[in-house]
Symmetry: C2
Subunit: 453 residues, 2 copies
């Protein structure tokens, strides 16, 4: 990974300011498109545009693809449809679709009409129809396809032709006369079996493949499970439609786990540390406001139970303990469920078992914590506050049990309803636990205090 020093950036800025084309070209020649994209992020739009225009069309396309969405938007806004179309022609269809998808319908049409390669334009239009969150939305059409009845020399000749347009070849897909996927031809077979008469004798049969409407979460799990570099995509009757490459899947795996992490941390939207102040505020304020409403609900509830405080004001001292513990237990329980569902280790059909196990974990943890708190309180404030000491521990135990079950139940229910279970994590769980925990605490303790005193 290149790390650009501030000195390097300054040096480059100087070159750009002087419009020193030769020096700038020399600097660019040493960089990978992904590095150039990173550079563009550090520069102003005009500076980035200057560098960009010095690149070859193919390099422009690669850089475009590597840019952040908003950097890309800025740069694209400076180009006309014809230039953009020319750059897209250098990209794989799946990457071109990713870029075109960010545009509005008018722009799309204008750009597509400028793509000279009719086949590629047609593929892009077809690919745009698929749902972004399915295998179809992730696939491209660049792949080498050969017929199972061809001989190896025939195959190699055909591959040579097909490979011209492609960046890199990892698999060769083998189909029958009806275009149905039958196998894959590992490239090493080209080397180890150069003269075989029919490909089907050396191909690997039963290739792992996905249906075009498979959700991307499942596609990602398959890539991980089967250690794949690329996976073919087929329609309902097994005809080969395209392929998904591991780099796109890896980006998705990271995106999905980042999204879960953000939800668990109370961030909405896809916020990044380098986003602007306003974007950051927008991503964070909603949860804070929900938390605020939760906090005000709590103050309302506590106000209703003032009777208990009057008898023993020490009750107030344990409010943070009850709220905090409930929140922590709930967060743990829901995180375990969300992560298990995400990495495939938890099966929704085993919900009942998971709930029972959570009850067990809650029972053990609840007993230990309630007992420790009881001992601490007995020693420190026990004298004169016996009822409160008892009330705190009983309600703490109840809160832990409730939070364990609630934190497990909510994400499992969401998953059953086909809603993203990660929505259940983070502030949602902790606020609900806070409110219900407070209700439990105040009900039990007020009742005990009023009964036993």
């Amino acid at each position: 990974m290149k790390d650009f020093t501030p000195e390097y950036i300054d040096h480059l800025r100087h070159i750009i300011e002087e419009r020193n084309d030769d020096e700038a070209r020399k600097a660019l020649a040493e960089l990978h498109p992904a590095d150039i994209a990173e550079l563009c992020d550090d520069l102003d739009v005009d500076e980035a545009e200057y560098l960009f225009k010095l690149l070859s069309e193919e390099a422009q396309a690669d850089v475009l693809m590597e840019l952040d969405e908003d950097d890309r938007q800025k740069l694209l806004s400076k180009m006309d449809a014809e230039d953009i179309a020319k750059q897209l022609e250098h990209l794989d269809t799946d990457d071109a679709v990713d870029i075109i998808q960010e545009m509005d319908a008018d722009e799309r049409e204008k750009i597509l009409s400028h793509i000279d390669d009719v086949e590629q334009a047609g593929d892009i239009i077809d690919l745009l129809k698929y749902d972004e969150d399915t295998a179809g939305g992730l696939m491209g059409t660049e792949m080498i396809v050969v017929n199972e009845n061809w001989s190896m020399p025939e195959t190699i000749k055909e591959m040579r032709m097909q490979a011209e347009d492609m960046d890199e070849v990892y698999y060769v897909y083998v189909v029958d006369n009806e275009e149905r996927l039958k196998g894959t031809l590992p490239l090493k077979k080209l080397i180890t079996h150069p003269n075989v008469s029919k490909i089907k004798h050396v191909m690997e049969t039963d290739p792992a493949s996905v249906k075009v409407d498979t959700p991307i979460e499942d596609v990602a799990l398959d890539f991980e499970k089967y250690d794949l570099v690329a996976m073919p995509v087929v329609d309902q009757i097994g005809r080969l439609l395209g392929r998904i490459t591991v780099d796109d899947v890896m980006d998705k795996v990271r995106d999905l786990s980042e999204r879960d992490y953000q939800l668990a941390s109370g961030l909405s939207g896809d916020v990044e540390s380098d986003d602007k102040l306003f974007a950051q505020t927008k991503a964070r304020l909603p949860w804070l406001l929900i938390g605020m409403v939760g906090g005000l609900c709590n103050s309302f509830i506590l106000g209703k139970f003032e009777g208990g405080f009057v008898v023993d004001p020490a009750l107030a001292l344990f409010i943070p303990l009850i709220g905090g513990t409930g929140g922590n237990v709930g967060t743990q329980s829901s995180a375990i469920v969300v992560q298990g569902l995400a990495n495939g280790s938890l099966d929704i059909k085993k919900s009942g078992r998971q709930l029972i196990k959570e009850l067990g974990v809650g029972l053990i943890n609840g007993c230990i914590i309630a007992l420790l708190v009881f001992l601490y309180n007995w020693i420190t404030i026990g004298q004169g506050h016996q009822v409160t000491t008892l009330a705190v521990s009983i309600s703490l135990f109840c809160v832990v049990m409730f939070a364990s079950v609630f934190g497990t139940f909510v994400p499992l229910t969401l998953e059953k309803l086909k809603i993203d279970p990660a929505l259940a994590t983070g502030p949602f769980i902790s606020i609900t636990n806070d409110i219900i925990g407070m209700l439990i605490y105040m009900s039990i303790s007020t009742w005990l205090i009023l009964t036993l005193h």
Copy 2:
């Protein structure tokens, strides 16, 4: 992804119970090693062992590699060193090292002494020396290496020999006479340039590579950035030592983000939803106990400020609001930093900028929330509680500002100290915020109440 129905498992159990070798072999033949590993997880050890022994040595090795660590341990404990050694011989060195790493020194030595292929055993011993969390710990030695001065036909002949032992070939690495990495030969060049006189004329120069001591987090970012399928590993003077494959990196990306997620959710250790009750309790209790201590600290602090409560008991009503908001703000701030550091979008050199931005976000969010709470309190309890209403909003604002800065500062500092910044997230942030927030709230409000009343 195969999904095994309970009926299928029952059917298979029946076959196993009857020791019906033929039927069992037929069932296994239809399954990918990763699926067989998943099956073994659903079966008892003895059942899994029976199935396992029906597999070919090569399939055994593949299944072994796909198993969870504890399932693997159980199965390995039923085998002697010679059998294990035979299976390891079928694996790539990096996978064999992963398995051997889980054993103690005695077992290791015994197994290594039974590996017949001296070169492989030597490679494994060499690889065991590298730190697990660096490129060296992730690399294997199976790769095709050719000399830059060879012709293409020579190269193909050599590749044919080297490829025999390998599962799959994605890249061919080109070295000079001193074994220094000079380039890569994309496999499509075999097809497109079959007769070139020197490989160095068609190889791609300046190949992306990593030094052997690069931390795996950086290796993963490089794979994502450069969209690689495999990456060569070199020593300090550029000599080729091995290669890292994308499937291992993808597992690491998932592991690392799961770990961050677990830390943020207050789970220690690598806990999974299908772990046993005891393992779950062990992973969760530590944070709950820390939370408990935090809660008791709070009760102690609140006790010290009883003076305020005496003047206006309504102060107690806002304890959950203050604690909750501080926790939420802190969690958001630290999550943004941790995620930015993990995906490379936040540079530690820009810490100052990040802190200033956080101050801005805190200022906006703090003003909005404090104002809303002020309005709500003014309308509902304002009459007779003017000072408390004011105190709640002022301290709420201060708590938000503090939590923003604190949540940003701690993970950045940990990163500077080369400690995992993710340790700063989750319960740690929320508990500290809770305690300091409570101190801020009680100090400000008690002071205001005692001064203004």
